[in-house]
Structure formats: C-alpha cells, structure tokens
C-alpha cells in the first residue's frame, strides 16, 4: 500500500517583511474616483494637463 510520503517540515523561507508601496496605485489627488484610462482620456482631450507629451 502506498504510504503517504512523510511530509517534511515546511521550510519557511526567510523573507524581508514586505514593505508597503509608496508609489504603486497612488492616484492623483482629486482623481481618486476615476480610472487611469479615464484620466488619460481627459489628458488627451486637454481637460487636464499632462506634464510631458512623450
């Protein structure tokens, strides 16, 4: 009969505690309720400024 392989004690990989991101997913102030896509459409139409045009 098949024996269940004895489970090795799980090796816990030492990891640096995840730092909370400072920059990811931070919307521009005042535009928290629209999506980035909507925001870019507004930039494209000139309703809000765009720092660089690329």
């Amino acid at each position: 009969p098949k024996e269940r392989s004895k489970k090795e004690p799980k090796v816990v990989v030492e990891r640096k505690p995840l730092k909370k991101y400072k920059y990811w997913d931070v919307p521009p102030v005042g535009f928290e309720h629209i999506t980035p896509v909507q925001y870019k459409a507004m930039q494209a139409s000139g309703q809000i400024s765009q720092i660089f045009t690329g």
């Binding site: 400072k22 920059y23 990811w24 931070v26 999506t35 896509v37 870019k40 660089f52 045009t53 690329g54």
Partner: protein
C-alpha cells in the same frame, strides 16, 4: 517625441513613459512648485532608489521575470523618466502593458507600451 517610433507588436521590452519624475525636475510639476531647499542630492538619490526598487519588485512579482530595467534620469523632455523593462518572456511584457495602463503610479496614470529596444547599450532615439 516628434520622431517616428515604430511600436512593435511583440517585444520583451516594456516602456513606461515619463514614469519617474526626479525631485530635481519637480519644478515642472503641475502645481508649479519650485525646488525646495531641503531637496538634497541624497534625497534625490533615495527617491530614485525607492522608485526603482518598488517598480522592480512589483513588476517582477506580478508580471514575470525581469532581465533588465533602466530608468532614464535625464531631463530631455521626451525621454525624461522613461522606464524600460526587459522581461524574459514576451508574453509577460504584453500582459504588463495591458494591465499597467489601468494603474496609477506616484499620483500619475501609467503610460505603458511595448518598445523595440532590446539592447540598452545600443539604444538611442532615432
């Protein structure tokens, strides 16, 4: 950029346009604020390092293995803060483009596209 760039359909390299805004360059911010006295070289470097690290960690974790990443730190308008990320696999770059165009970074919308650049040492704007 006024120069004609062909946008490839497939590429390992992802371009995030004007993503990094150096503190040094922040006088160009929309609020017209000028460079504050307390912005020192160290703070600029720290800000750059933090930005680089956050980008790398999240992109690598969420979209796939990164081979190389560069952030342009120059002030030339059409290159300023451009971030080039070369993934190991084209599919990962493609996934990343689609998703990143729906995300914010540091108070700005991300402009993501694929880039034909694969060798950063040879890269120049044509």
């Amino acid at each position: 950029c006024s120069k004609l760039h062909n946008k490839p359909t497939f590429s390992q390299t992802l371009l995030l346009k004007n993503l990094y805004l150096s503190l040094e360059n922040s006088s160009q911010k929309a609020d017209k604020s000028f460079i504050a006295d307390d912005i020192t070289e160290e703070r600029i470097q720290e800000h750059f390092d933090d930005t680089f690290e956050e980008l790398f960690v999240e992109l690598d974790k969420k979209y796939g293995e990164i081979e190389e990443m560069n952030i342009c730190d120059n002030l030339s308008e059409h290159l300023a803060g451009n971030c080039y990320v070369k993934f190991r696999f084209e599919e990962d770059a493609e996934k990343a483009v689609a998703d990143l165009n729906n995300r914010w970074f540091d108070g700005r919308a991300i402009y993501a596209e694929l880039s034909p650049v694969t060798d950063f040492h040879e890269a120049c704007c044509r």
